[in-house]
Structures are given as C-alpha cells and as structure tokens.
Amino acid sequence: MPQWIAVLAVTLAYLGVSLLVGLLSGRRATASTEGYVAGDRALGFLVLYFIMGASIFSAFAFLGGPGWAYSRGAAAFYILAYGTVGLVPWYFFAPRVARLGREHGYVTQAELFAHRFRSPLLSGVLAVISLAAFLPYLTLQMEGAGYVFNIVTEGRIPVWAGAAIAYGVVLVYVYRSGVLGVGWTNTFQGVFMMALAWGLGIYLPMRLYGGVGPMFDQIAEAAPELLRAPGLDGSGEPWSWGGYSSSVAISVLGFSLWPHYFMKIYTARDIRTLKKTVVFYPTFLIFLVPILFIGFSGVLAFPGVEPADAILPTVITSIELPALVVGLFCAGALAASMSTGDALLHASASVAVKDLYRAVLRPELPDAQERRLIRWLVVVIGGLAYYFAVASEFSLVYLLLLSYGFIAQLAPLSVATFFWPRATPAGALSGLLAGGIVTVVWNLNPGLQWQDIHPGIWGVAANLVTLVVVSLATWPMEESHVARFVVS
C-alpha cells in the first residue's frame, strides 16, 4: 500500500472520531438559543480548559509558530510572552460578566456592552468589528487545513478539496451541536495535539541533532542572531524592541476580549470553574514550547524552505517516518485548524444574529426562530469563508493584520463598562470609532510610524482620550442602571 493512502486513512479516522464526538455531545443541550450558544451555562472545567487552550493551538500556532521559529528565531517567543498574562484579566472581570450574563440572559459580548450603554447601535458596531476580525481568521484556518491535506497526500488532494473535507465535518457538528460540539471536539483535539506536539518536538531535534541541547548549540554557532531576542522581522533584519514589545502589548490588551473567547465566560457552570480555567491556562503555553523546537529543528537541517510556514510539513515528509506517524501529524494539524475554526464559525453566526440582526433590526425575534437562524448562518458564513479561502483572489491578509488592532479597541470600552460609572454611550461609541480610524490610518501610512510601535497602540490611546473627553462632555447615564454593571 502506498504511504499516502495509509496517511489518508489515519487522517480520515481522526475526522470520523471528531464528527462522532461532535454529534453525540450536542444531545445534552436544550433546544434553545442559550443551549446552542452558551451550553445552558453548564460547562465544567475540563471542556472550558480545552476550549480556551485549543483556540490558541490554531493553524497559526501549529504551522505559523514553527514557521516563525524557523525564519525569525526568537521573535516566535512573543507568542508565549503575551500568553503569560493574556487571560489574567478574566480572573478579575469574568466573574462579574458571568453573573450579569445569568441575570440578564446574555450569550454574546455585545449584549453586555450594549445593555450597559443602552445602545443598540453599539451592539451593531461591535458586531461589525467582530465579524471583520473573525472572517480572515476563519479563512486562514481553512487554508491551513487544505494545505495539510495537500502536502501529506503529495498533491493528490488539492487544497480546495482538503479544506472542504475538514470543514464539512466542522460544519456538521457545529450546525448540529452548537457550543457543546465545539467544546467536546476541542477536548478530543486538544489532547491529541498536546501528545503530538511533545512527541514531535522531542523526537525531531533528537533525530536531526541528537537532542534539544545539541540542536541549540549548533544553531548558536551557525546563526546566533536567531536565538537573541527579539529575533528577526519579516524581512530577516533584526526586529526592534519597539515592534516586539508593542506587539506583545496589543495582544495582551486584545486577547481576553476576543468576542469568541469572551462569550465562553457565559458557558461556565460557576465562578470557580471560570477561575480555574484562567489558573491552568498557562499550562497550555508550555505545550507550545515543543512546537517551537520543531521550527528550530529545521533551521540547519532544511535551509531555504519557502514559505517558512511549510517547515513543519516539509520536515515531516522529508525524513523517513512510518505512515502512522505522518498520518497522526496530519490529523494533529487538522485538529489545530478545526479546533479554532469551529469556535470562530460558531461565534460569527451567533454574533451576526444576536448582535446585528436582533439587536438592531428585529428585537422581538422568537427564541426558536433565532436559534434556527444562527444555525443557518453557520452554513452561510462557513461558505463565505470557504470562498475566500479557496476561490477568491481577494486577500484577507490585510484584515488579519488589523484584527488584533481592532479587537484591542475593546479594552477601553471594557474598563469603562466595569470601572467608570461616568462613561456614556456617546463616549463609548466615539472612542471605538476614533480608535478604529487611528489604527487604520497608522497602518496605511508607514510615515507615521515611530519606533515600530504597533498601530493598534495609537488607536487605543486615541480611543481612551476620546472616550473620556466625550463622556465628560455628555450627560451622565441614570445612576441606578449603571450601578448594576460597575464595581461599587
């Protein structure tokens, strides 16, 4: 039997198990929007831990992480650096979010902010920002899945077919099972990826260099610039501390506020479960360490691989490995893509219906109809992302670069929501608008750059100033209403 058939068989077996887990898990939820989007607020620690963890083990971490380590060296440590405190803000504000969610029935992020500021318009703006940030990410996950299939079958399965197979499975279980499908498949996929990451991360340096230590010894000798933080930039020149530090800062600001993470706060069974998830989150970062070893293992053994993101599949297919191992790798990479893509798909549809359609256009939408609409939108958004992933010439890379800058704009809004009673709807909206515009303008005009600082940082500064000034210049909101949200 040719190797690629065996590889494909292992991969398809993985997809089969994912589908089964995804379909079975949905049977526990009630047939309501709360059940479909927030798992009836009954998720335990294990599932929540893997949902949060699997989301960072995305196609970016699995393919891009080694790619960065391979081509940009120490720059890749930034992925670990922002994770050190990325989820910590949850420890302090998530209990309040969860309680408000229970009291008022929220299942999305914008529902909370729009209620605090009594502004359906704010809900619509947040929905547009979320969707603009989600779509390129989802597209990237699909491309990653198609790419993995293509490489391990030695080109026999084209990218479009690979993406269709993997995301066909995702579509079925997200459509059928909602957040429980996402949760339980992520648990299965997460365990799988961890095992694979450590297996390959230790095995490859051992096989190619005789161990992790000898590998770094040799790289330090041949290319010491790769091991000195903050590593190299995209063009191979030393990266600046300004660029590195501000990238970490913008990621820290935005990380805990990504709408598809944020809405998982509502799914937790209780506050202790939520806090425990935050506590154990850094353990997931440790699983990224071997992923970076894999990238470094390619530096001297496989020079000149283009694009750098192909280093992991290149190493895997270039050395003699049993078909089972290659198949497991393929399945692991698909798991990385799917476990992020499913959460994005589920969140996109929920946000589009709840925060845009219902909040702005049809407040009286009945629950059953709403749930049906969300499920159909899962299919529509999946199709749209698939179109961008395989058919469209239009590149979403620009949106992707902007997405973290946009999401970080939610930070001043969140602080104002929970900690500043004087903040007003006009302040919140104009802050978001100012932040978004400054981020885009700074992105488009390299001449405005200073010390390589991430454009989103300037956006957050403009956002904060505007929020404060406009809030103070407008009438305060009703005290009894605001008191329900802010710390008192």
């Binding site: 670990l80 650096a81 405190v85 091991l227 933080a229 530090s245 970490v248 970062l285 710390v487």
Partner: protein
C-alpha cells in the same frame, strides 16, 4: 453620582483588598518582564540552561511563575470562603 473609577469592590475586607492589589501589581510586573527593557537583560543566546537559550528559558520561567501565582491566589480564595458564594467572590 460617584465619578471616579473604583477597581475593587467595597465589599472586600482589607485583607482581600491587599491581596488583590498585590496580585494586580504582580501581573503588571509579569507583563513588564516579557517586554523591553526587562526582557532585553535576558535576551541573549547564552547561557543555555537545560540546553535552551536564555532568551527562551527566561520566557518559560515567567510562564511558570505566572501559573504558580494564579494557583496560589486560587487556593487562597478557596480556603477563605465557601466556593461560589454568589456575587462576591473575587470580583474586581
């Protein structure tokens, strides 16, 4: 209406307030540790503890510190109150 921000609930007792304040300062410190200038002091490829370059090893140590600190805070809270006392526990 109170116009100034309040970061800790007035329902927290003085010990809790002190602990949460210390935790916030600690995690701000963790963030500062992984960016310039602090990280630049540990950014070299040498030495290589456990065979891993210092620039890499340092970030791993910070992750572990962050984990231990969160764990201590969590256990401390658990010992203080009945779990999940509604509306109060650990609210910023």
């Amino acid at each position: 209406m109170r116009k100034t921000p309040r970061f800790f609930s007035s329902r927290l007792d003085p010990v809790e307030r002190r602990v949460y304040r210390a935790a916030v300062v600690f995690f701000l410190g963790v963030f500062c540790a992984v960016v310039w200038p602090a990280y630049s002091w540990f950014s070299g490829a040498e030495p290589r503890p456990l065979g891993i370059p210092l620039s890499f090893f340092y970030v791993i140590v910070i992750i572990l510190l962050s984990f231990v600190a969160l764990l201590l805070l969590f256990v401390w809270e658990g010992n203080r109150r009945e779990p999940d006392e509604p509306g109060t526990q650990g609210e910023g």
